[in-house]
Each structure stands twice: as structure tokens, then as C-alpha cells.
């Protein structure tokens, strides 16, 4: 019996093989969304728990990796929904620990604040598309929505951000 068939039949050894094959990719995807390594680890385990729980619904002829990405995205989205009012955007994974001198500290804080107030589904696509530069198609596959909807959500997220920043007294278009 093939690995995926054994997994779908509930074989724990097959699940372990799949877990070890995919945990790094799943973690890397989640950490881009939630931007906190500890939370990303917990959500990776949560993702695989959901995968294991729904193994009977998995088609062994299907793409396990794509399925895992989708479940990981949903787990991350659930986390964003829960944590929206509790946390600011963590920065422990930022590529550049030194802020761009062109952007003042106050501006950065306002952008962070406005960004963390975006509704979860907009924050998800905005993080992946605008910050992580992931292609719309990949985001669409992972989120289980059409690429056109990803584009719309990114557009709306930018508009919401602009509105929020304007209400904070920050004029976009005026120089920093």
C-alpha cells in the first residue's frame, strides 16, 4: 500500500513519515503569516492534528502538500481572528532589524498599529502578498479562494490601511 493510502487508512507510521516530510514547509508558511516562531510551532502541530483528524476525507490520489498548505492557512487564519485584539504584529522574524531610516519610528508604529487592526482575512492576504511577495496564485491555492478574490482583498486591505492611517492623522501622499 502506498504511503498516502496508509495515512488515509489511519496508519500512524505513515503519518509520521508525512509529518517529517512536510513540517518544515508548513512551519515556514505559517511563520510568514503569524510572524512569531513559538506561535508558528504550535500552529504547525495544530495543522497536522487537523490533518490527522480528517485523514479519512483525504483522497490518496491527491496532493498532500497542497492540502497541508490549505489546512495550515486556515489554522493561521483562525489564530489571526482570535488574536486580532490581543496582539500587535510581532517583529521577531524581520529581515532587517534596523528600521529603514527613511521611515520614521512614529510612522512605523502607526503602520504596525493600522496593520494589526485589519480584519484577519485581509491581514492574511496583505501579509503574504504585500510583505512576503507571494504570488496571488499561491495565496489563492493556500486560502482556497480564487486569485481574483485575493487581488480584491489586497486592494481592500490597502484602502482600509489608508483610511485607518488617515484617521490617525497620517497623510499618505504627503512626505514622511
Amino acid at each position: 500500500m502506498e504511503l498516502l493510502e496508509r495515512f488515509a487508512a489511519g496508519d500512524l507510521d505513515a503519518f509520521e513519515v508525512l509529518f517529517r516530510q512536510h513540517q518544515k514547509q508548513v512551519y515556514a508558511w505559517i511563520v510568514r503569516i503569524v510572524r512569531d516562531s513559538g506561535i508558528a510551532e504550535d500552529l504547525t502541530v495544530e495543522t497536522f492534528w487537523r490533518i490527522y483528524r480528517s485523514r479519512a476525507r483525504f483522497d490518496p490520489a491527491g496532493n498532500f502538500g497542497a492540502w497541508a498548505y490549505r489546512i495550515a492557512t486556515n489554522a493561521a487564519l483562525d489564530h489571526l481572528r482570535k488574536s486580532r485584539r490581543e496582539t500587535e504584529l510581532p517583529e521577531d522574524l524581520a529581515a532587517n532589524p534596523q528600521p529603514d531610516p527613511a521611515v520614521r519610528r512614529e510612522t512605523r508604529q502607526r503602520i504596525h498599529q493600522a496593520f494589526s487592526q485589519l480584519p484577519a482575512k485581509y491581514r492574511l492576504v496583505a501579509t503574504l502578498a504585500l510583505i512576503e511577495d507571494e504570488p496571488y496564485e499561491k495565496i489563492a491555492d493556500a486560502a482556497g479562494i480564487p486569485a481574483s478574490l485575493v487581488k480584491v482583498r489586497v486592494f481592500r486591505a490597502v484602502r482600509m490601511l489608508r483610511k485607518q492611517l488617515t484617521s490617525m492623522g497620517m497623510e499618505i501622499g504627503a512626505r514622511r
Partner: protein
């Protein structure tokens, strides 16, 4: 004008929130996964409890007159 502003906002966003680069998983999460799987096992009643419940039911069926006494003492 709005398009220009949106473009500027996108650039500002990229400068303010840098992409994540440290996305490497530093440890194996399988032990955590196993713990999670163990925690989520359905609750199982030990065989001894089932045996005790069966014995008590049989006793109550055989000697129903003890039920009021039992209820009095409970």
C-alpha cells in the same frame, strides 16, 4: 491620485514591516505532535469500572428491595 497613494502606501508598508527571513524550523516537532495525539485520544473507561458497574446493576436487579435503603443512605 488614489492609485499613486496606494502605491506609496504599499512601499511604506514594505519598509515598515520587513519580510520574514528566519523561517527555518529549528527543532523536530514530532514529539509535540505525539503528545497532542495522546491528549486527544477518546476518553476510555477502565475495564474494572465496567465490571463494578455491571456487578452493581446485577445486584440491584436481583435484590430490588435494597434500593430504598441505598437511596436513604446516599
Amino acid at each position: 491620485m488614489n492609485q499613486h497613494n496606494d502605491k506609496e502606501l504599499r512601499e511604506l508598508l514594505k519598509q515598515a514591516i520587513a519580510p520574514a527571513t528566519n523561517t527555518e524550523l529549528t527543532r523536530d516537532l514530532w514529539p509535540q505532535m505525539l503528545k497532542r495525539l495522546d491528549q486527544q485520544q477518546p476518553f476510555q473507561v477502565p475495564w474494572f469500572d465496567w465490571a463494578l458497574a455491571a456487578l452493581l446493576s446485577a445486584a440491584l436487579l436481583l435484590f430490588p428491595n435494597v434500593i430504598p435503603a441505598l437511596l436513604y443512605h446516599l
